[in-house]
């Protein structure tokens, strides 16, 4: 599915470079459920963003579905991204001004999906995640767990091949977190490839593979 080759990420701080990721070599196969762990500041989010094409690596090669992403320009990257990726965040990042329904609809609007089709896709998602009754509410009218459910639904609505989640349960009570993780499990069983960042061993155990990141190095993988 994706392959990272000698990926390095550094930021210019003053005259020297601060390295966030160093020489990352990594391959994720279709259907895998990978958990990335490591101390704060290790570069987990950065790695996820690079995989998610929200950020570009300073050096190295990145192949996604055999596309050389590192050679792509902005436009091509976002086209690829739009087609195949879904993102979930710790702080949900729903759009405050939009209702649940409209939040779910937004990725489809950007993908230029037809109105009738949009409607049925959104309704399917609302139904699947059992938030039909909340469809006209605004994010601040929902609990954190409900918001994250909508976040998951929104990431899935464009039927991505790869789901990237950055501490999806970080802001949730354990029971709410479990619900989300159960969803991940179900999705993975259905064939969805998932890469999540987590601090919790318990959540990491949902996946089959754990990558430990320390100081920008991969310390262990497996």
């Amino acid at each position: 599915m994706l392959k990272l080759n000698k990926i390095t990420k550094h930021y210019k701080t003053g005259s020297s470079n601060t390295y966030v990721l160093r020489n990352i070599n990594l391959e994720v196969k279709e259907g895998e459920f990978v958990s990335v762990m490591g101390p704060s500041g290790a570069g987990k989010s950065t790695l996820l963003h690079i995989m998610g094409m929200l950020d570009v690596a300073s050096e190295g090669e990145y192949y996604f579905l055999d596309n050389p992403v590192h050679e792509f320009n902005d436009k091509k990257r976002s086209a690829l991204y739009k087609e195949h990726l879904g993102f979930i965040f710790q702080s949900y990042h729903l759009i405050d001004e939009l209702t649940v329904y409209e939040n779910l609809e937004t990725p489809l609007l950007y993908k230029k999906v037809k109105s009738s089709q949009r409607k049925s896709m959104v309704c399917d998602m609302l139904d699947r995640f059992q938030v039909v009754g909340k469809k006209d509410l605004f994010p601040h009218q929902l609990s954190g767990g409900q918001q994250q459910l909508v976040g998951v639904a929104r990431a899935l609505i464009s039927q991505p091949k790869l789901l990237l989640a950055d501490e999806p349960t970080g802001n949730l009570h354990s029971s709410q977190g479990e619900e989300i993780m159960d969803w991940f499990k179900t999705l993975n069983d259905e064939g969805m490839t998932i890469v999540q960042v987590t601090h919790s061993e318990k959540n990491a155990a949902y996946g089959g593979r754990i990558i430990k990141l320390v100081d920008g190095w991969i310390k262990s993988d497996g």
């Binding site: 993102f87 710790q90 409209e102 990725p107 993908k111």
Partner: protein, 792 residues
């Protein structure tokens, strides 16, 4: 997609009610000002275009050249060229001459002096599109003593009766027959009249009128289609030489001005209702400034919300939005706001149209349905404002890298802050400059109205005279001067431009001066101060035809012929075109005085000459006490001499003040603009201050918990704004000083604007800004810190 953009736009607008109110009200004010201005300009540009043949009609203007090479133009020509042009030039289809005169119109018991009275050549209704509602356009003014009336004049004199064929008596001398009624002359005509009499009335009784090359006639020509006015202009010297001797022809030429150009490019001695393009530019600049300040509010308040919006933008990008789509979204928001503001602007325009009409002194109407420009202008302004307002935020926000916001460590950038500060400085620079301008302009006008005119204007009663009255004038003067309460009586003219040739043989230099024809009593009655030589005197019979008295200014300006400041007494010169053309000898010099109007551009060299055949008004110096009794007795004397004429009088002082009042009215436009600009800038500042204190609520709470006094917190919040406003003043005031000095230069007498003016402008600006900001900061400083922290 668009629906989604609009939906989020509206939700964002209702979410930030204060920001939205500030943006919309500011933009509405700016757009309303621009729209009014646009329509005003349109109205000004449409002058005289209602004439179907306006593109073929030209006004002939006279170009005079003196041997020194000075050239000056006047809108008035002689009446001779008009009669000869049509025969000499096949491309001239028709010539219409107008002579304006003030006449006493009587119908039955109604006797009224009418100013809007023209004599015109008979093709007037064929050439111009003044519509005759009754009568035959080609025949109406064919016969001498025929006259056409406007509908209002017809109503005024004949009520609902039919005026056709009725007689009107003019100046108690002749009866004219009404041969037509025309629609009231549109406001957008530089020619304004209610009475149009046949010019043949004059030419039939005074055939020499048609041979005059100097008189006060306005000549308009209708060229055949496609004829080039330049060709005609270039043929003028030959045309003139054909009828004039070499010397006269050398000093004279004619030019052609397209009819529609006259209103905005008046020539010297022009008709009323002309204005200048410069004034339009000024109005334009003011409207654009106000709009600019409003747009800056818009940009500032949008970028202030940057931190919140940047999160949304990142999420949208993560959800697949392209940069273009983000840009479109912010543009859509900006457009929604701009269009709401435009709708409000329409309401404002309707509300303020009457005020605006009063300020510009024209009576223009806005017909949205009939005037496509009104709607196009409004839409255009809305689009423009939307584009400008949306451009910066959409550029900045769309450029954002989504990965930044997704980090927990995200902090909103400082970049927008500098931009915001710069824009606030710009807004207040404009405001400060406008405040200073208002102070200086107002100062100048009040200075002018208080200024020493060089004579005592109060207590001078003015009675208009006509040539037919001049024969009985000496007797009436005598009667008037012995009335109780009367201290002096003098007859004179207004000032006219003349050439004055000091040494016709040795030095053929002609100099220009304004000549006032006046009698022996003028200097004494007016109270002018003689600084050299003497007043006119009965003891010198030669004064009648030979004496000339200069004003002080003449000494300065004619300095190249004499040495500056030299005593001019005894110098001789010839006054051009003033039969009997005798040499005049300078017998005295008087202190400068302002006779025609106070604001006169540059005090001109002026001369007094006696000429009993020309007087136009009688000035009577009266006592302040018992004024009404004095005027009643003056009226009685007048009635004895001129029983057929209504007694009309005015106070010279009022007339002089009227000119200033006109300019003052114009300066109120500046005042209002300043008010609006400052208001819009202040509400913008209010919005920013609100935003900043909201952003710093937590910081303020913590500071208070740590023991900071309210006083310290207020100053912490206000110092930044104070510095910005001071910076604005430092930038703006020197620039404003430069332009104001330039403006003042046109006035020979100008107000000194020193440090106090600057101080008042700067302090006013600062106080207004600080007042606005401290409301917010006092509220923040007074808030319970626990609330602020809990809120977080």
């Amino acid at each position: 997609m668009l629906k989604s953009y609009l939906k989020t736009a509206l939700r964002n607008l209702t979410r930030n009610k204060i920001h939205t109110a500030i943006n919309i009200s500011g933009l509405a004010i700016g757009i309303a000002c621009c729209l009014l201005l646009l329509l005003h300009v349109q109205n000004e540009l449409s002058y005289d275009k209602f004439h179907a043949q306006h593109q073929q009609i030209y006004r002939m203007y006279q170009i005079n050249r003196d041997p020194n090479g000075n050239v000056w133009t006047r809108s008035i020509t002689g009446s001779a060229p008009g009669v000869r042009l049509k025969d000499d030039f096949p491309q001239i289809e028709a010539v219409v001459r107008f002579v304006c005169s003030r006449n006493l119109v009587s119908v039955g018991d109604k006797k009224i002096y009418e100013d809007r009275f023209f004599y015109a050549d008979d093709p007037v209704f064929d050439v111009f599109s003044f519509k005759l509602t009754v009568g035959d356009p080609s025949m109406a003014l064919r016969e001498p003593y025929s006259i056409a009336l406007s509908e209002s004049a017809a109503r005024k004199y004949f009520g609902s009766g039919d005026p056709m064929g009725k007689t009107i008596n003019i100046n108690n001398r002749a009866d004219y027959t009404v041969t037509g009624v025309f629609e009231d002359v549109p406001q957008r005509s530089h020619l304004q009249f209610d009475f149009l009499a046949s010019l043949r009335t004059i030419t039939s009784s005074h055939p020499v009128f048609n041979d005059d090359w100097q008189n006060a006639t306005r000549t308009y020509v209708l060229l055949s289609e496609g004829a080039d006015p330049a060709v005609l202009e270039s043929a003028m010297p030959v045309f003139i030489r054909k009828y004039q001797d070499e010397e006269a022809a050398a000093s004279l030429n004619y030019g052609l001005q397209p009819l529609a150009d006259i209103h905005l490019n008046p020539t010297s001695v022009d008709l009323e209702g002309t204005t200048s393009a410069a004034k339009l530019y000024l109005f334009g600049a003011l409207a654009v400034f106000i709009l600019l300040i409003a747009v800056i509010n818009f940009v500032n308040l949008s970028t202030a919300q940057y931190a919140r919006r940047v999160g949304e933008v990142s999420v949208r990008k993560v959800l697949g939005a392209t940069r273009d789509q983000i840009r479109q979204q912010f543009m859509a928001e900006s457009m929604v706001l701009a269009f709401i503001a435009s709708a409000l602007a329409l309401v404002l325009v309707e509300l303020f149209l009457p005020v605006f009409r009063g300020m510009i002194q024209t009576n223009f109407e806005i017909h949205y349905a009939r005037n496509p420009l009104a709607l196009i202008g409004l839409l255009g302004l809305a689009l423009l404002v939307g584009l400008i307002g949306g451009f910066y935020p959409s550029m900045v926000l769309s450029r954002h890298n989504p990965a930044d916001i997704l980090r927990k460590t995200f902090k909103s950038g400082r970049g927008g802050v500098y931009m915001r500060r710069a824009l606030v400085v710009f807004q207040f620079a404009i405001s400060a400059a406008l405040i200073l301008s208002v102070l200086v302009v107002h100062g100048q006008y009040s200075f002018l109205s208080d200024k020493d005119l060089g004579f005592k204007a109060s207590g001078l009663v003015k009675i208009p005279l006509e040539s037919s009255m001049l024969g009985r004038l000496p007797d009436m003067k005598e009667k008037l001067s012995v009335l109780p309460g009367v201290h002096g009586v003098t007859a004179s003219t207004f000032g006219y431009d003349y050439g004055f040739n000091t040494h016709p043989q040795a030095d053929p230099k002609v100099r220009h001066l304004v000549v006032i024809f006046a009698d022996h009593d003028f200097i004494r009655t007016m109270g002018l101060k003689v600084i050299q030589g003497r007043d006119f005197s009965e003891n010198y019979p030669g004064d009648q035809s030979r004496a000339i008295i200069f004003n002080r200014r003449t000494l300065d300006v004619f300095g190249d012929g004499f040495s500056v400041g030299e005593n001019l007494l005894g110098y001789q010169g010839k006054l051009e075109n003033n039969p009997p053309n005798a040499f005049k000898t300078v017998v005295g010099t008087v202190e400068n005085f302002h006779f025609r109007d106070i604001t006169e551009q540059g005090l001109q060299p002026m001369a007094l000459v006696i000429d009993q055949s020309r007087y136009e008004n009688l000035l009577i110096r009266v006592d302040d006490t018992g004024l009404s009794a004095t005027i009643a007795s003056i009226g009685k004397v007048y009635a004895q001499f001129f029983p057929d004429r209504p007694f009309e009088f005015s106070f010279l002082e009022d007339e002089l003040q009227q000119v200033v009042a006109g300019e003052l009215r114009q300066s109120t436009i500046l005042g209002y603009s300043c008010l609006l600009a400052v208001f819009v800038a202040l509400i913008g500042l209010f919005g920013l201050a609100l935003h900043m204190t909201q952003q710093r609520t937590k910081e303020i709470g913590i500071r208070k918990v740590c023991g900071a006094s309210s006083h310290r917190i207020v100053s912490m919040l206000t110092v930044e704004f104070a510095l910005l406003v001071i910076a604005a003043n430092i930038i703006a005031l020197p620039v404003a000083y430069y332009f104001l000095s330039e403006w003042l230069r046109q006035y020979p007498n100008r107000v000194e604007f020193g440090a106090t003016y600057f101080a008042v402008a700067a302090v006013a600006c600062l106080l207004l800004a600080l007042g606005t900001v401290s409301y917010q900061s006092l509220k923040a400083a007074g808030a319970n810190p626990v609330d602020a922290l809990r809120y977080e």
